[in-house]
């Protein structure tokens, strides 16, 4: 009786496998410690608070850019969004769910300025364990999330600027460029 054990496995690289959903859970502590290190890393390389915010936003943008393709393939079955309201709803629900496991609380349109929209979140997960000392002024580490949103919007063809503010919890102010608003109006008229 002879038993042969094959020691050679067929080599499949990760590129041969289909895009799996993956486990959607990451330990909160693990994430919080990593984010804390990220903030400290940025803080060691800047001299002022606005620079720190810019650096965090840049890091967020690098994350956001990679999210666009993945989310549209998985959640929206390859279909692009072309209207402002739809892309914002995509950000509020799908993007937030993929990042944080829950949806953002509110999406509002500014009364006075038609280029500005607000996404409001009472308790952002990124800020859960962070107490900002008084000498850092109005630093909000949610600028990291604002960077993610900005990269997603820019990548989808809606150039915008996103900033984070301490208002009703945390508010992300999304300011679209005029070209985007004009294009959206044209779409509606048609």
């Amino acid at each position: 009786m002879s038993i042969t054990i094959s020691a050679v496995r067929p080599r499949t690289s990760i590129l041969d496998k289909s895009l799996s959903r993956g486990r959607g859970e990451v330990s909160l502590s693990c994430y919080a410690l990593l984010f804390s290190e990220l903030v400290q890393y940025c803080q060691n390389r800047v001299y002022t608070v606005p620079e720190l915010q810019n650096k965090l936003a840049e890091m967020g943008q690098e994350v956001g850019v990679k999210f666009i393709d993945l989310l549209f393939v998985r959640e929206r079955s390859y279909k692009r969004e072309i209207k402002i309201l739809n892309i914002l709803l995509f950000v509020k629900s799908t993007l937030w769910k993929a990042l944080f496991g829950k949806e953002a609380d509110k999406l509002e349109h500014a009364n006075d300025d038609e280029r500005t929209y607000y996404i409001i979140e009472k308790d952002p997960i990124v800020n859960k364990f962070i107490s900002v000392p008084k000498d850092k002024g109005s630093l909000n580490c949610a600028v990291f999330t604002a960077g993610i949103i900005e990269a997603v919007l820019n990548g989808c063809g809606f150039p915008a600027k996103v900033t984070a503010h301490w208002h009703k919890g945390t508010t992300y102010m999304v300011k679209f460029e005029d070209s985007v608003i004009a294009r959206d109006k044209q779409l509606e008229d048609r």
């Binding site: 804390s36 990220l38 962070i130 107490s131």
Partner: protein
Amino acid sequence: MVIYGVYIVSKSGGLIFNYECNVPKIETEKTFGYPLDLKLNYENKKIVVEFGQRDGVMVGHVLTAVNGIPATGRQLDDGRDVFDIINERENYPLSLKFARLRMTTNEKIFLASMFYPLFAIASQLSPEPRCSGIEVLEADTFKLQCFQTLTGVKFMVVAEPTQAGLDILLRRIYELYSDFALKNPFYSLEMPIRCELFDSNLQNLLEHVEKTGISNV
């Protein structure tokens, strides 16, 4: 169900956090006849009872008023020196008020750093091998329980002597520390803890324990 204070001592022995609440105010006012049988001493800008404790006036209490007039250090509010009044026979009978003052932050730091070497000595003096150090210190009026973490940080809670379940409370405080102090990017290790979220969550925890008891935590 009364907790008097929470103290956190870092690995190097310095006090990094202290929180006091429900401290009972101890004050006694007594009338004395000449000659005064207490020995008073002027140190650290305060008049302190050094010897001769009786009727509730203990060693370490500070003189706060003479005949109802409050005193700061050696001087009464109306400008007279306290020792002059005490040494004159015709001022008697004299009514003196003594109180145990709250500790200043410096004193707390000093005492906490004294606890650290005591803890180390205790673990070496113990007849059992591989002893961990002081866990519980019980006195007539309070009970101090200490929890040392794997990293050498000591959490201490001072409560009334009959309080039970303090070790569960200490573990919850340890969880709060690891959440709101260690995950805060603006907190450096071994430094005093100045995180609002840690303070507010700790207060909530202590209030919850006082209202509903330790077993619900």
